[in-house]
Amino acid sequence: MTAALEIRNLRKHYKGFALQDVTFTVPAGTIMGLVGANGAGKTTIIKLILNLVRREGGDIRVFGREILAHEKEVKSRIGFVHETPAFIEDALLKDIAAAVAPFYPKWDWPLFRSLIGEFGLPLDKKFKKLSHGMKMKFSLNLALAHGADLLVLDEPTSGLDPVFRRELLERLSGILQDEGKAVLFSTHITSDLEKTADYITLIHEGALVFSLPKDDICDSWAVVKGGAELLDPARRCFFRSVRETPYGVEALTSAAADVRAAFPSDVVVDRASVEDIMIFFEEGAPHA
């Protein structure tokens, strides 16, 4: 089946930052979480998918169609939610919906209205009168009501309480009951990801660290804690990153099984959470 989203060798640079040859794929029927520190490049990647900024190199395909060559077609299948939803402030919600609907051939008014009911959104109110959470819900409502096959969400859960976050994630999982659809969302709240995502893609300083099924990450990546034996140059090839702490030495590996085999048993090998991995990349001393 065609992948929902294929990104190949994506390149873009700003002053002091560059996206380098980013390549990953979101298969249809899956949810992918995009993580990375602030400024790592997540929002840039998302903006490039929507052609809000111009790419300098590489290829982006949505359900097999290149986004620049088939811009209208591609965008009619994408539902986008911005990190800070912004519309014309004093427009009424119902006006915004009426203005947006004609652009989408698959716009579904009954679905829109039922979601409005579920989310509890006041159609006759001005956009500026909504709380942040409501704005997010409305934005999501628009994205869902036109039958989007690929949802691209930039930090959709930021600033939202855990209850709503969980609801949102459940809803996203529900959408994927239809195997033709897919979701890509960036977030800082890695615990949300670990519950919902099928794939996790980590970006660090503009480069892809990995894009893997969540289960693979759980199985292969680990935090290794021990003493000076971890610093042994002969065995450093096991580790992506090593750092010394007041209590000993900690290292990050992407080959947990090999490490368990190679090291004596007084070294602790713990499953690494996405957050652990991110922190190692930010702080640990990397070495090839």
Partner: protein, 222 residues
Amino acid sequence: MLNHMLKDLRLNRRGLLIFGSFYPLYMGFFGSRLSTPTIAAILGAFLYGIVPIIIFGREDRFKASGFGLSLPTTRREVIRSRYLLSWILMAVCYLAASVLMVVMPGGKLGLSNVFAVRTILISLTSMTLLFSTLMPLFVWLGMAGLMAFLVAIQVLGIVFMLLRFVVGRSVIAVVRALPRAITAAVDALGPAGAAAAVVALLVLINVISLAVSTRIFAKKEF
């Protein structure tokens, strides 16, 4: 394109109502107090020419442009529909103001004055010159940048006025050149001929402006 125009209309109802009614009313009244239509034609053009930019500027102000561009559309479509909508808005304002100028009680201008070929051509030319220059600048610099630019122009205007004492030439002469040119054209080519020539020229200016705006807009990042 229709979708875009309807969208901009729907979302900016309030702004349109305020500016779209105030300016024509103002010009309708002000213009009717004058004894020649030329000043009203030029001044009015300035007001109507700004209306579309104010409207589109709201999206800029609220940082909503990103969403508009995430809709199934191309940048070309967006900018084209903006130009078309702008002209429709300017034409409506102009027509409304002109009618008001004629029917306003105590008005000194008559139908033949306000709707004379010469007057219409002066208005269209002024609107074109203003809009065609401002729109690409607006696309490039956004609302804030445009404001800064306009302030700079004001400063330049003051400088010119001061220069007058040095150079001995009035700034008004520059502005007067426009109606003078139109009058000369009407005299030389007759009203129909002048209309055709001027309109052709204006269309060309608009097309160039659209091309420039499209190029700028296509490269812009949101």
